[in-house]
Subunit: 472 residues, 2 copies
C-alpha cells in the first residue's frame, strides 16, 4: 500500500469512531488529578494508572515510575512501542496528566470534573471540564492517533515512546532528574510535545520558543501578632503596605522589570518574525480578545503578542494578608504574603533571577521586619533549533490537515520539558498543540473544541506518517 | 455621712464581691456578639438583652431601641437612673457590647468565648476572652460601680444615663442618627466613655483626643475572567499589581499620605504636650514593646507615640487576590481587592478624604480596568475642650485611686461616639479607660487585667462621687 493510501485509511478510521474517542477522554477527565493540592494525590495516581493501562492497550510496554528527587511526588507514566522494521525515526511524546485547581468554583457553570459537550458562545461544540484542553484532551489526540494506526495497520509508522508527567502544574521539579536518570530509556530522535495553542482558529503552528519560569512565595513578617490599627497604626510596620511597595517596585514606569541584570542575554526577535506575528495579531486588542481588556499592560515598545511570546515578565499570581472576610476589621496584620512568578526567555538564568528577587525583597523592608521565601521551581526559556529536519516535515503535515499554511510561533507559557529534554536527552522538542486562546485553561469553564480534538488526532496521524519518511 | 465615708463604704463593698462581679462579666463574655459577621446578629441581640436586664437590676428604666437609619442593625441599649435630689450633674455613660471577629482562630490558646482567668507572661492575673477588654470588661467596670453605690446607699450620687452600642466594631453608622433622634432623652452634662487604655501599668489617664476613621474596600476589576499568566502575562493588566502600585503610592518616601489636601487643618501638638508624652514613652521601642517591632514605621519627624496619638495615617487592613492556597498557581486573576482605612485627627474632613482616595484609585488604573468601592463608614477626629470642669474632677478621682498623678493623653483609635456626642448632644465626652496596650484587643488571646477590672470599678465610684460635688 502507498504512503498516501496507508494514511488515508487511518484518517477515515478516526472519523468513524470520534464518539468512542470522546467518551474515552471523558473517563480521564472525570479523575480530579490536581497536583498542587495534597488531598488529590490519590486522584493523580489514579489518572496515571488509567493512562498506563491505555498505553498497554496500544501494545506498548508501559509502567508507572515513581519520582522522589526533589520530593516524593506524582509518578511518571512511560510507554514504548515495538521498534518497527526499517530505519524510521524514534519520537518521544510528552504530555501531562495533572491539572490546575478549580477555584473560584462558584464560577463554573457545570462541575469541573463532570465533562460534557456544550456549544460555546461562537456555536462551536466544545468539551467543558478542568483539563479538557490542558492537557488531557491534547494528550489524547496523540494516543488516539496511535490507536488508529494500530487498529488499521497493526503498528505505528515510527518508533514511539510516551512520557506523561503528573507535576507539570505544581513545579515539575522531578522531571529533569527523572529525564537524566532515564536518559538511556527515553533518548529518541526528537520529542513531540502537545501542550500549546494555535494562534487562531484556522492556522496550525509549531511553537518554537517558550518562556521559562521562576515561581516564588514571599511572606513578610512584621509584628509578632495582629495589632489594632488604631493603637499602632502609623507607628508599627504594616506588612501589607511593605509588600505592596516592594512588589510595585518590581517594574518601572516603562513596564520593565527592575531586578539588576534581569534583561542580560535577552534578544529581540528579527524583523521578519515580528512582521509574521503582526499579521497574526494586527493590534493588541486582537491578542486580548475575549479577556475584556484591550490595552497592552506590560513593557512599552513591544506589542501584546511580543510581550507574551518573546519578552520576559513578572506577575503577581496571588496575594493575601489581614482581614479578607465580609465587613471591615481595622486590624494591622502581623504578616502578608504573595505568590510571584517571572516568565523567562532564552538567555536568562532562573537561578540568577531568583537570587536577585530575594535580595531585592530583603532590601525592601526595615530592619525589624523579616522576609521568608518558598521556591516553587524554575526553568529556562527555550527555542527550537531552526536547523531541525523534523520541523519542516511537521509543518507540512499540519498544513495538509488544516488546509492553511502552518507557521512557527512563540508561546508565553512555561513548558519546562522542552528545555529539559534538550538538557537531559540532547534532542529538540517540537511543540504542536491544538488548543485555542479562549479555551480558558487554568480558569473556570475550561474547554477544548471538538474540532481541536478531531483535527488534532488527524494531525498526529499525518505527522507520524511524514516523520516516517525521514532517514535518521 | 460624709462624702469620704460614703465613698469608702462603697469601695469596701466592691472589694468584698469581686468574684461575683467577675462571674457576672463572664456571662456577658460568653455571648459571641461579633457585629461585622451577619451570622452573629442574634448573638448581638442576646448581649443587648443581657445588658438591658442588668440595667434594670440597677433600678434603671431600661429598654432596647431598634436602629435602622443607615441600615437595620444591632439595637442600642438605653437606661436611666432616678434623678437624685439636689442639683447634681447628669452623666451619660457610653460603651459597646459588640466585639471584633476572632480570626485567626488557630492562634487562640483557649476558645475566644470561653472566658477564663490566667496568669499572663508578667504574672498578672488576666481575663482572656474576645471582648474582655474591648469593650465588655470596660463597660462592666461602670455598671459594677453603679451596683455598688446602689447596694450600699440605695441610689447613685449623680444622675446616670447609659447608652450601649452594638455596632462600634462594624462602622457604627447608626449611632449619630440615633443620638440626634434621641437628643432630648440622652442630653446630659457630660458623657463618660470607657473604651480606652492607660499609657502604662500605673498611670491613670483621661484621653482627650482621638483619631477618626475612613474605611473603604476597593476592588480592581481587570479581565472578565481569570487568565493563564503564561499566555497573557505582561500583555493583560494584572489587578494585583495595579492594586499594589496604587496602594504603595498612598505614602511618599517620608511616610506622608499623598492624597491632595490630606493634611489641611492638621495641627501639631504644643511642646509641653510632646514633652509629657516623651516622658511616658522615652523612645519608639517603648511604645512598640510587645509587638516584636522597634522602629517607628510612619511619618518621619514624629515619634511613635506622636504618630499614633496626633498624626493622621493610612493603613491597609486586608488584601486578597489570585491564588492564595497551598502550592502555586500561575493564574493572572481577574480581580483583586483591599480594605483600606485612614485615621484622622481633628481638622480633617472624612468625606473629603474618602473622595480624594476614590479619585486617586480611579486615576491609578488604565482605561480598560474598573475600580469599585464599598464604604465602611467614617468619623472625624476629636479633642476634648480643655475648659471642661469635669476634666480636673475626673483626674483628681483617678489620681487618688491609682496613687499616681493622672495625665491627659491621645489615642490613635477611633471612638466616633466622642465626636458624635458633641455634634448631636452638644456636650464633651471624657474618655476614661483601664485597658493596657498589651491587652491584644482585636487580636487572638485578648485579655483584661483583674487589676484593670477592680481599679476600674473603684475609679468610677470615686469619679461619680467627685462629679457629685460640682454644681451644674
Amino acid at each position: 500500500m502507498s504512503f498516501e493510501k496507508n494514511m488515508t485509511s487511518v484518517l477515515d478510521h478516526i472519523d468513524g469512531r470520534m464518539e468512542q474517542a470522546q467518551e474515552h477522554l471523558f473517563e480521564l477527565l472525570r479523575i480530579p488529578s490536581i497536583s498542587t493540592q495534597p488531598q488529590h494525590a490519590e486522584d493523580c495516581r489514579q489518572a496515571a494508572q488509567w493512562l498506563c493501562d491505555d498505553l498497554k492497550s496500544l501494545n506498548m510496554r508501559a509502567d508507572i515510575q515513581e519520582v522522589s528527587w526533589a520530593k516524593p511526588g506524582n509518578p511518571m507514566v512511560v510507554g514504548h512501542s515495538e521498534k518497527p522494521t526499517g530505519s524510521v525515526p524514534h519520537v518521544l511524546f510528552y504530555g501531562h496528566y495533572d491539572v490546575q485547581p478549580t477555584d473560584p468554583d462558584e464560577l463554573w457553570k457545570t462541575p469541573p470534573f463532570e465533562p460534557r459537550i456544550v456549544k460555546d458562545e461562537t456555536g462551536r461544540s466544545v468539551i467543558v471540564a478542568r483539563g479538557a484542553s490542558d492537557d488531557k484532551g491534547q494528550v489524547m489526540t496523540f494516543l488516539e492517533a496511535c490507536r488508529a494506526w494500530k487498529d488499521v495497520h497493526g503498528s505505528l509508522p515510527v518508533q514511539v515512546s510516551v512520557l506523561l508527567e503528573g507535576e507539570e502544574e505544581s513545579g515539575g521539579e522531578n522531571l529533569l532528574p527523572f529525564l537524566k536518570a532515564h536518559a538511556d530509556e527515553l533518548k529518541a530522535d526528537v520529542a513531540l510535545v502537545c501542550d500549546t495553542a494555535m494562534p487562531d482558529r484556522v492556522t496550525p503552528a509549531v511553537t518554537t520558543s517558550l518562556r521559562g519560569t521562576v515561581a516564588e512565595e514571599v511572606e513578610i513578617v512584621a509584628a509578632s501578632q495582629d495589632l489594632h490599627s488604631g493603637m499602632y497604626g502609623n507607628a508599627a510596620a504594616n506588612p501589607i503596605a511593605l509588600l505592596c511597595q516592594a512588589l510595585s517596585g518590581l517594574r518601572d514606569d516603562e513596564g520593565r522589570v527592575t531586578l539588576p541584570g534581569f534583561y542580560d542575554g535577552v534578544t529581540v526577535p528579527d524583523d521578519a518574525t515580528r512582521e509574521q506575528w503582526k499579521r497574526l495579531f494586527p493590534n493588541d486588542a486582537t491578542l486580548l480578545a475575549g479577556t475584556g481588556l484591550s490595552i497592552a499592560a506590560g513593557e512599552k515598545g513591544f506589542s501584546a503578542v511580543e510581550q507574551t511570546w518573546c519578552r520576559p515578565s513578572c506577575e503577581i499570581n496571588g496575594i493575601s494578608g489581614g482581614y479578607e472576610g465580609e465587613g471591615f476589621k481595622t486590624v494591622l496584620p502581623a504578616t502578608a504574603k504573595a505568590k510571584v512568578s517571572f516568565r523567562l526567555v532564552p538567555g536568562q538564568n532562573p537561578d540568577h533571577v531568583r537570587e536577585q528577587f530575594r535580595a531585592y525583597m530583603k532590601r525592601s523592608v526595615p530592619a525589624d521586619v523579616q522576609v521568608r521565601f518558598t521556591s516553587y521551581g524554575g526553568s529556562s526559556g527555550f527555542a527550537v533549533s531552526r536547523q531541525s529536519a523534523f520541523l519542516p516535515a511537521t509543518l507540512k503535515a499540519l498544513s495538509e490537515e488544516w488546509k492553511t499554511e502552518a507557521v512557527t510561533i512563540g508561546c508565553g507559557g512555561s513548558i519546562p520539558v522542552a528545555e529539559e529534554v534538550r538538557q537531559a536527552l540532547g534532542m529538540d522538542a517540537l511543540m504542536v498543540g491544538f488548543a485555542q486562546a479562549d479555551d480558558r485553561i487554568h480558569s473556570p469553564n475550561e474547554q477544548y473544541g471538538l474540532d481541536s480534538f478531531r483535527h488534532g488526532i488527524r494531525s498526529w496521524v499525518r505527522i507520524l506518517a511524514e516523520l516516517s519518511t525521514l532517514s535518521v
